[in-house]
């Protein structure tokens, strides 16, 4: 379990892995998708991001995995001001972040095994050094017999599990997951949750955007609740989150 589930509220903001100071974000000339967000996530915390469709959950994750930039405010990642971080340093920040994309983003020409190993190859690991780890992880997510299958031949749930395996294979400092249980059955959803909790126990900061209320309730972890781009609640789900 999380070492401090509600750490976000009490942590020294400067020690936070992620810190938002009055951050807003917009796409092009569109109205702001996220507005005036201020919060921080300490290392080792576990949070869900909840809210209705269009509330800004995916955009919030995008800011953290550096796929978008704030239009206003300061975003600190691992203690660094993202806006001031040189372009050549950003890839190294991204390597510390594991992402489960909502649309999976698997490479169709690579086998499930090679897809899962992408972060390790990018980090410069040799195949001999990661072969066993990747095989074990794929076995754990139930893809033992599908390691050499290409993504187009995988079912939706299998793709999702593969995307999760790829996100966690490098033991990231932060794990971001966008609807990670959207395409799996209840039992697999619980297994995935256990995997996230185990990673969190080992020190990974976890942030999961989800509509799955059962998952949130079972975990007992705090939520960041968004409504129309604003953070309306941060804390235990029983404390007023209205997902």
């Amino acid at each position: 379990m999380s070492r401090n589930p509600n750490a976000a509220e009490t942590a020294d903001a400067w020690d936070a892995v992620v810190r938002f100071d009055d951050v807003s974000m917009r796409y092009g000339r569109e109205p702001e998708t996220l507005r005036d967000l201020t919060f921080s996530l300490p290392q080792g915390s576990f949070h869900f991001v909840t809210g209705p469709s269009g509330a800004g959950k995916t955009s919030l994750l995008k800011l953290i995995y550096l796929a978008a930039q704030p239009s206003k405010g300061l975003l600190h990642l691992f203690g660094q001001d993202v806006a001031q971080t040189p372009a050549e340093v950003r890839p190294f920040l991204r390597r510390r972040i594991g992402v489960v994309f909502q649309e999976f983003r698997l490479l169709d020409h690579l086998s499930a095994f090679d897809n899962a190993a992408v972060p390790l190859r990018i980090a410069g690991r040799k195949p001999d050094s990661y072969r066993q780890d990747v095989a074990e992880l794929l076995t754990w997510v139930g893809l033992k017999d599908r390691m050499h299958a290409l993504p187009p031949t995988l079912a939706g749930g299998e793709k999702q599990r593969l995307a999760i395996a790829r996100a966690v294979v490098g033991r990231p400092d932060i794990l971001l997951a966008d609807e990670p249980t959207g395409n799996v059955d209840h039992e697999m959803g619980l297994r995935i949750l256990r995997l996230f909790l185990e990673l969190n126990r080992l020190g990974t900061t976890v942030l999961i955007a989800t509509h799955d209320q059962d998952l949130v309730a079972r975990s007992g972890m705090p939520v960041l609740h968004l409504e129309e781009g604003r953070l309306t609640h941060m804390g235990p789900v029983s404390g007023g989150a209205r997902p």
């Binding site: 890839p91 992402v99 020409h109």
Partner: protein, 302 residues
């Protein structure tokens, strides 16, 4: 898609990581075809330019080194003896390498096309011709030839080819520049299409760029990946286009005998070497285009 075939679990190939970019992609067929065709056209134009340049130089060279003297026999001598006397006289003039009286048959053959078959040339007083080859280093002038002929009492007219030389040289220069212009135009079009097709091919793989970028790949790593891939593809296509153009050039050379397909556009074997830089040039253009496109895509993502 992956080229790997299903194999047993002990087959090490199964565990060898596949490249981040597919080795073969059906989406690349159009790109390869277009690049090959444009390289073929560019190489063919280059061969044409080289051949036309050689032809132009040949015409100028011929005209500047020769003159023809038309000899009209006087009443007391035969055409043959007048021509022989003129040739002997001209051979002694400084700046003349050789002077040779053409046989009557050759003279008749020269004017026959102008008179038609209805005319019996044997009934006509066909003037005799003396072909004069000039010394290339210090050629004799038409005036000096006329003076020498006059001094020997010969009734002759010197046809100075250099009168036409300026026109021929101007025409040759125009042909040369037009050819070069067409070559540059086609090369530029080829380069633009290679760049455009490369950009299109790379944009079609945007998802690979995005994933690698978001997973922490450095910009230079991604750019190198695409640069190498598209350069390799363009080099292959350029090789096909260049080989096809060289094959056509060789066919022209073989089919046309010693002077190529036509004496007007002579192709030499050495000309075929001109296609060699084509694959390299295509690869270079594709590499630069791929790098720029990848950098632009990454900038959009950052």
């Amino acid at each position: 898609m992956s080229r790997r075939r299903p194999s047993g679990p002990l087959d090490l190939d199964r565990w060898r990581p596949a490249p981040f970019l597919p080795e073969r992609d059906t989406r690349d067929s159009a790109l390869v075809f277009v690049v090959a065709v444009l390289c073929f056209l560019a190489c063919l134009t280059a061969l044409g330019v080289i051949a036309s340049d050689r032809a132009a130089r040949g015409w100028s060279h011929q005209l500047s080194g020769e003159m023809t003297v038309i000899v009209r026999p006087k009443a007391n001598e035969t055409p043959d003896s007048a021509a022989a006397r003129a040739a002997e006289t001209l051979a002694g003039v400084a700046g003349v390498a050789e002077a040779r009286a053409l046989e009557r048959e050759k003279a008749e053959a020269l004017i026959a096309p102008w008179l038609g078959e209805a005319v019996d040339l044997a009934d006509l007083p066909v003037p005799r011709l003396v072909a004069v080859a000039l010394d290339r280093e210090a050629p004799a002038s038409a005036q000096s030839l006329e003076q020498a002929l006059l001094a020997r009492g010969l009734d002759a007219v010197v046809d100075d080819h250099t009168t036409w030389l300026a026109d021929i040289q101007r025409g040759a220069a125009i042909a040369r520049w037009v050819g070069l212009g067409v070559f540059l135009l086609i090369s530029a079009a080829a380069a633009a299409v290679v760049a455009f097709a490369t950009r299109a091919g790379l944009a079609a793989r945007r998802e690979v760029v995005e994933l690698l970028h978001l997973t922490g790949a450095e910009d230079a790593f991604i750019a190198r990946l695409f640069q190498a891939r598209f350069a390799q593809m363009a080099a292959g296509a350029g090789l096909v286009g260049a080989a096809a153009a060289a094959a056509l050039g060789a066919a022209m050379r073989l089919g046309g005998g010693g002077q190529g397909l036509t004496p007007v556009l002579p192709v030499a074997w050495s000309d075929l070497l001109a296609v060699l830089p084509c694959p390299l040039a295509a690869a270079l253009v594709a590499a630069v285009a791929a790098r720029m496109t990848a950098a632009s895509l990454i900038r959009e993502l950052s």
